[in-house]
Symmetry: C2
Subunit: 235 residues, 2 copies
DNA sequence: TGCGCATTGTAGCCAGGGCTACAGAATAAG
DNA sequence: CTTATTCTGTAGCCCTGGCTACAATGCGCA
């Protein structure tokens, strides 16, 4: 059966096309139901730096990422903007649409050329009503995310900055990295500024801790990308 | 229509009985489906200090809290045990059952006499398959929790310990507190030790910060319970 | 009613890391 | 290629909060 991926991602594109069909949340969904799903989804492209939606804006859509990379950020009460998380192909963006919220509580940025499948909230809901096992998949997916968040929450404040930073990078490398001869390489650049948000520390302190990590060989930096050597990965 | 709550919670009990029927996740579920739901749930009582399940144990059940209070804790790699969160009547416990996990990643403690409705994972899944809008409710509920976790994550490390501590207490008071003449009172005792985990700080530092909060009147302590005066609540 | 354990409170030392300031690299823009 | 801007690296000051140690209070239980 032909998939619509070729329509979505131009063949000469540098972004790796991911077929919706291959996303784990669609495992076991019947061909027929999948077709319906595709029918109501609207393909959208975003260039680097564009926003899928902005914090405070009215919630209208929920997205499935097909290709690219998304950064979630939030402006805190004190006015500073912090990076909360990154999302990759196969992840859902804008789940908040499914709770009672009426405004997006954060902003979603395309970090690179990104292709998504957007659904109007009502359509998405209807889809799940018609397709309970899809809902079940989603629930599993979300409880996984809750798990991750919980353990991140547990580790943000324990241990030294150096350790936290290393763990963060190792986690990102695990989720967003690709294997290279040297180790797992994070496919997008991360500024010290961003790392400082994620790890809850000052930018300068991050620079220092990072230097130590590089000196001890636990982290490698090459062409603005971080590499976590397989040997240094915990456990 | 008569509800089974009276059967679950003895009338002379000090714990406030919550009818399953009243839980938000059951809004809009038909009487008939609700009956089926009740049919497959198994009521369980826990005394203070008992565990619903322990970290590392095989996942068998998922719980809906009817009455009481649950503390979630986790043993970190370095061996220290930290408190992650508290749950109240109406919340789900053991959602991890719904992801791919096979072992509970944390331990759930009854902080007081607690009544739950337990479901075997398979039954719960089947229930959702038969009852898509229940699944939708759950998805909403979980995305709400993801939101909360995200914003907690954002604020754990920003601001002074004193601020973080106050915010934490205000949040707990909002979620688990009951209104009193003095303000919102947290219905269960919290040791400085526990607070220190939640806020990511040293026990002694918490004691000091707490003293300052009391001196400035932002927090009141009475009979081992914290009270957040309505006047000092943020926003 | 007295013993023992858990929780809370105080003190003091000192290091991690917050903060400012500036200089050099590296990218982007023109 | 030049200029502007953003990112990275270093230095130094100083304060928050980590850590140890011990005292005081409170609570449960025999």
């Amino acid at each position: 059966m032909k998939c619509s991926c070729e329509d979505f991602v131009p063949l000469n594109s540098s972004i790796s096309p991911v077929c919706l069909r291959d996303l784990t949340i669609f495992d076991g969904v019947s061909e027929e139901d999948f077709e319906r799903f595709r029918g109501i989804g609207v393909r959208k492209n975003f260039r680097e730096g564009q926003t899928l939606f902005v914090q405070g804006g009215p919630i209208t859509e929920i997205f499935v990422i097909k290709a690219g990379r998304i950064r979630l950020s939030k402006v805190m009460k004190d006015g500073t903007e912090i990076t909360l998380d990154f999302r990759k192909p196969g992840d859902l963006i804008g789940e908040e649409a499914l709770s009672r919220s009426v405004n997006y509580p954060l902003t979603a940025w395309a970090m690179e050329e990104t292709v998504t499948c957007g659904f109007r909230v009502r359509d998405f809901n209807q889809l799940i009503l018609d397709n309970p096992d899809l809902g079940l998949k989603l629930i599993g997916n979300m409880s996984q995310r809750i798990l991750t968040l919980n353990s991140r929450l547990g580790s943000v404040t324990s241990g030294t900055l150096e350790d936290r930073l290393f763990n963060l990078l190792a986690n990102i490398a695990g989720e967003h990295g690709k294997k290279t001869p040297l180790g797992y390489s994070i496919t997008f650049p991360l500024t010290h500024e961003e790392l400082s948000c994620l790890v809850g520390a000052h930018r300068v302190s991050v620079t220092k801790a990072l230097k130590r990590l590089r000196d001890t060989g636990k982290i490698i930096k090459q062409e603005r990308r971080f590499i976590v050597p397989s040997g240094t990965l915990p456990r």
